[in-house]
């Protein structure tokens, strides 16, 4: 049977769902992390370790990252990064997604703009603005 939420419960429901999902990153004993990967979805190029808790409490279904997630000495690769995986400290993958160049980067970057995201060995990778949103659909 389908789940149908009453309107009065929507905000509480999306906040609870959002908190429950982002809390999964904190399930391990240490801090969760976001791993940047090659297109094969398994080759690690950089691992940005977040804070614990990784996200703050959700408001209106939106949880915002606590501090920054950083890799100060990336593994690097000559190939472009196209995927990421968000994991807890026990290496359980919680969710995955894609990586790309931002629109602003295409304007300010030179030489490599449009050529994909190349992370060299020893690079510093900082994820400073992460949001996780849960919203009702349909």
């Amino acid at each position: 049977m389908a789940i149908v939420l009453e309107s009065a419960a929507e905000t509480a429901a999306v906040n609870a769902a959002c908190n429950a999902i982002v809390d999964l990153l904190d399930a391990g004993s240490g801090s969760g992390y976001i791993e940047l990967q090659l297109d094969d979805g398994s080759t690690e190029v950089a691992t940005c370790v977040g804070q614990k808790p990784f996200f703050g409490n959700a408001t209106a279904g939106v949880a915002t990252q606590s501090g920054s997630a950083v890799d100060s000495d990336a593994t690097g690769s000559a190939s472009a990064v196209t995927k990421f995986a968000a994991c807890d400290s026990d290496d359980n993958v919680i969710w995955t997604g894609s990586v790309g160049e931002s629109a602003s980067d295409l304007n300010i970057d030179d030489g490599t703009a449009g050529g994909g995201v190349i992370i060299e060995a020893g690079a510093v990778v900082t994820l400073s603005s992460i949001e996780f949103t849960v919203a009702l659909a349909e």
Partner: protein, 57 residues
Amino acid sequence: MNKMKVVMTAKGTVRNPNGESKEIELKAERFVTPTEAEKYGNRIGERRGNSGSQRGV
């Protein structure tokens, strides 16, 4: 029927040793089925008693 849509977005920078600096974006998006929503609901119940007080930064 209500479904939940889950979206994660992230922005950041890559500073390569050669001096190049690049902005990147990460994005994940999917719909949560009623079955998954029920699973998350169960997790909400499980976690209220042991980790809720750790957040609130």
